[in-house]
Assembly symmetry: C2
Homo-oligomer: 205 residues x 2
């Protein structure tokens, strides 16, 4: 790889990382291009050299983030023995990955905005669908294995989604440790809430 190519890739990554962090922290609209330049040291023009537009940058991040997330998850999914354990693993990964599943605050705001392209709209709809399908699969697995009471799987997937979205929102201003504690407690409550028997196995710390 060229020195140029390497440099290009590095700045691209530098901009991406800073932008993602800011988008998560402040939301889409509230994050300005100048905020990103301030966080990277790059100039405005440089951002537009590497990315088509602010919207393009956001979309790129969403794609990348989603792919990374899924990859990381699939890598360790098989290590969990039960659906309950998976949920704790799920929570842990969320806390470690920028306190979020892809598509939370910024994405939601982006979703409601009226200036989005068709391409963006389709991509977001697809991600939401994938997201809910992921939750459904996780819950269905628990039901099939007898860990969870059988019931409204789709509804429970929505509830889990709400919990995740809400947790990421209120944890935005707290430390990683604090967030992890709250996430664990939340999963604990959720598991008790859907458990087949009163007793649910606690996580190994």
């Amino acid at each position: 790889m060229n020195k140029k190519q390497l440099q290009s890739e590095q700045t691209r990554k530098r901009i991406g990382d800073a932008a993602r962090h800011l988008f998560v922290q402040k939301g889409y609209k509230a994050t300005s291009i100048e905020d990103i330049t301030a966080a990277t040291g790059s100039s405005k023009g440089n951002i537009y050299y590497h990315f088509k537009s602010k919207e393009g940058l956001f979309l790129y991040l969403l794609d990348e983030w989603d792919r990374d997330w899924i990859a990381k998850w699939q890598e360790k999914e098989h290590r969990y023995a039960s659906a309950a354990e998976k949920m704790y693993g799920f929570a842990e990964q969320m806390v470690n990955e920028d306190l979020n599943h892809p598509l939370t605050k910024a994405a939601d705001e982006f979703f409601v905005g009226d200036d989005k392209t068709c391409e963006v709209e389709d991509r977001l709809a697809e991600m939401v669908a994938n997201h809910l399908a992921f939750n459904r699969a996780l819950i269905q697995e628990g039901i099939d294995s007898g860990e969870f009471r059988s019931g409204d799987t789709a509804g429970l997937a929505l509830v889990l989604e709400a919990l995740v979205v809400g947790l990421s929102q209120i944890s935005r201003r707290s430390s990683t440790e604090q967030a992890l504690t709250t996430y664990r407690l939340a999963i604990e409550v959720f598991l008790h809430g859907v458990a087949e028997t009163a007793a649910v196995s606690e996580p190994e710390r």
Copy 2:
């Protein structure tokens, strides 16, 4: 009351209602003054005749909303026999009142924004504190009455808050009936999750 005064009050209410709805729907920044004029028929100038600024309008709505909410709640709180029933009532009121407790998406976004006044900052901090105290009291009541397992009350209050915030976020694009169903299911899961015994009373429909 004068015809002028009546008219003034009506417009003020008309603007307030439209603005609150838009703020809930789109968030604070994404809602422009022109959006509000479009939704009310009033002119830009008229909004500034009745309200000091966009920030002032938002703050006014927050105050009003909070007061109304508390009043409505206190009015029917005594009708609920158990903590569990209170939670279902809580959910119902949230769905009916613009699908939200005061201080959700727009307020959260407002909270993170960097251009806020000290007055606003204080007011918001106060509301957040009240909000969590409300949750804590509700949960503590359940523990005291033996409905809920005793445990980390403050932590559970955070989890409940996350659930509420998340529910309002994902329900923003769904119908009232759909939202109510999801809210009820969520409360059901939460109640099972914190219940002392495996069996938790279902709500009367």
